[in-house]
Amino acid sequence: MQFFLNITLGGIANGMIVAAVALGLVLIFRATNIVNFAQGAMAMITTYVAYAILHQGVDYWVALICALAVGLLFGSVVQFVLIRPIQNKSPLNAIILTFGFLIFLEGVAGAIWGSTTRTYPAPFSEFGQKLGTTQIAFSPFDVYILVSVLALMGIMLVLFRATNLGLRMRAVAFAPEAARLLGVRVQPLLTLGWALAAAAGVLAALLVVPTSSLTPNFMDVILIYGFTAAVVGGLDSPVGALVGGLITGLSLAWVGGYLGGSLEPMAALALVIVSLMIRPEGLFARPAARRV
């Protein structure tokens, strides 16, 4: 029972991280119909930058803010340089391009920093709490994960629901042509969407990296899980990203805890397949007919 409780708590913490990755994918998908397979790799590069900043002797929080800023900048540059030219072409082009960019970034990281593993510090203790006499595997760091991802979600919610800018972004995502006709400048908003998505990815990476380790491909599997979560929740629903993240995190934690950790990626595949068979558009997607 205690084992079950512990892996469940771990699953919730991981699920929140996965939800942040999924949120990044969803933000981009609902605005541009592109799944950004390079998102994990972009966050990985930014994490290396944060690592370098951290080793200048600055505080964890300063490095975190720098990393988020770098993420915002990186996301907008990528949208501006790589995505704009192919936006109206076949979706296959965009998939191949982001996939190519993923491996390009991993190669660059490998060429600069090598494949040696580095450790990235956590701001809080990663060791579980004592609750009475029993050890509970829920550390202060897990609380930090929970709080920061919920804060990210909250900021996004306020941005999209309560500000004029958010309203315009939703209009662009919903009907770009109509939004353009109503005087919304579409391209800058798409760039902003990519920037926010990249920042969400960076936050996820910085939450993962203390418990895994910093290598050029440490985000590969996390990206897969994020994609799984986004598919489960619906690729165009931010709420779906959160719920999908939790579902994915918990299922993987249970599979990993009871059957073996190496089965987790295949469990993600199974989850994607089952979810697509039962509810292809995801749990929270807006009902959409495919245009003929």
Partner: protein, 384 residues
């Protein structure tokens, strides 16, 4: 379609030589010539070069599988590296547990990989674009983990032995292996060439171009996609088995995510819709990581980290740049040149029109958008 002549025929019409009109005969004759050419090539080359020619052969098979699925049926697959792993491990298990010879082993490899393709293909029939890409990416990333989970079966990090077959004593082993791999490649390409000229081939293209139109024309879209997945996975599995023979051992480290990217880059480079393009792609996939990237790195006195990663950097760049600049690949460029030559020597006003690259290649990866395309593409779509 009739208005634009095929370039080979347009050239041949001027000369004494005419390729047979029957696809089977034409492809068979072509393969026979290629086979004779390869025989002399392998005799002339050193043992190590023979080994590389064999590698080109099995990568050509794998690339043909990706071409069929992605370029011709329009179903993006980032997971064919995973299917190669399925083929390789099937061969390794057969070698460990049976005493069969290579031919039935490879037959089983093909069947098992085709079944794996069907398992992935069935859910995939309900998916489009990014969903499909993500699912196949999960296959590529996740499958190697399975071999770590069941170490007692798959041998863990050590892997399982898959020694190359021993040939006649007067042929050196590398050459014998290269012959086997080349023979497989030629057979596979002839069969695929015929498949693409058959009803199935037309269904594949119809599904790629417009699923709804295809289903209105009586094509069972789901079945067509599953068949494409199975054929593609069978090609990948056979290629994986032949890769295992070249490597001598089979372990999950030989099937990293980078392999799937090599395959995609090879197909994009060769030209997404073209079977002949797979040879260009295969040459790049074999030589770029092992030689060209190393040479380039040493030319620039780069350190070992850079030279170890240069290949995947270049492949990534290739994918990005090709998508931005030239989505029809090397073979697309060659076809364009041949067509322009044919048009130059011909007085046919239709072939003489200056046509943009993409329209000549048909709607492939670089498929023009709905409202783009121009008159000839539109005429092709209407079957004029």
């Amino acid at each position: 379609m009739n208005a634009v002549k095929r370039p080979v025929q347009a050239l041949a019409a001027k000369s004494w030589f005419r390729w047979p009109r029957q696809p089977m005969l034409r492809h068979g004759l072509f393969a026979l010539l290629a086979g004779v050419g390869f025989y002399f090539l392998t005799n002339w080359l050193s043992a190590f070069n023979d080994y590389e020619v064999g590698q080109i052969a099995f990568y050509a098979i794998a690339l043909a599988g990706v071409t069929l699925l992605t370029g011709i049926t329009g179903q993006i697959s980032l997971g064919n590296g995973g299917f190669m792993a399925v083929g390789a491990f099937t061969l390794a298990l057969l070698y460990t547990h049976t005493t069969w010879n290579l031919v039935p082993e490879l037959a089983v490899v093909i069947v098992v990989s085709a079944l794996a393709g069907a398992v992935i293909g069935f859910p995939a029939t309900r998916l489009r674009g990014p969903y499909l890409a993500g699912m196949t990416l999960t296959v590529a990333v996740g499958l190697p983990y399975l071999t770590n989970q069941y170490e007692s079966i798959f041998g863990g990090d050590q892997g399982l032995p898959t020694p190359p077959p021993t040939g006649p004593s007067n042929v050196n082993p590398e050459q014998w292996l290269a012959w086997i791999q080349l023979l497989c490649a030629l057979i596979v390409l002839v069969l695929l060439g015929n498949l693409l000229r058959s009803r199935f081939g037309r269904s594949f293209r119809a599904v790629r171009d417009d699923e709804i139109a295809a289903s209105l024309a009586g094509i069972n879209v789901s079945r067509t996609k599953v068949i494409a997945f199975m054929v593609s996975a069978a090609c990948a599995g056979l290629a994986g088995g032949l890769l295992a023979l070249s490597a001598g051992v089979t372990n999950s480290a030989e099937f990293p995510l980078a392999l799937s990217i090599y395959l995609l880059a090879g197909v994009v480079l060769g030209g997404t819709g073209s079977l002949m393009g797979v040879w260009w792609g295969a040459i790049v996939v074999v030589y770029l990581p092992s030689e060209w990237a190393m040479d380039l790195a040493s030319d620039f006195h780069a350190n070992s980290l850079v030279s170890a990663n240069l290949a995947i950097i270049i492949f990534g760049l290739v994918l990005v740049v090709m998508m931005l600049v030239a989505p029809s690949g090397i073979q697309g460029g060659i076809r364009w040149v041949v067509r322009r030559l044919a048009a130059y020597f011909s007085s046919d006003p239709v072939t003489n029109m200056s046509l943009p690259l993409q329209e000549l290649n048909g709607p492939g990866i670089g498929k023009p958008t709905e409202n783009g395309g121009g008159p000839v593409a539109a005429a092709e779509k209407q079957g004029v």
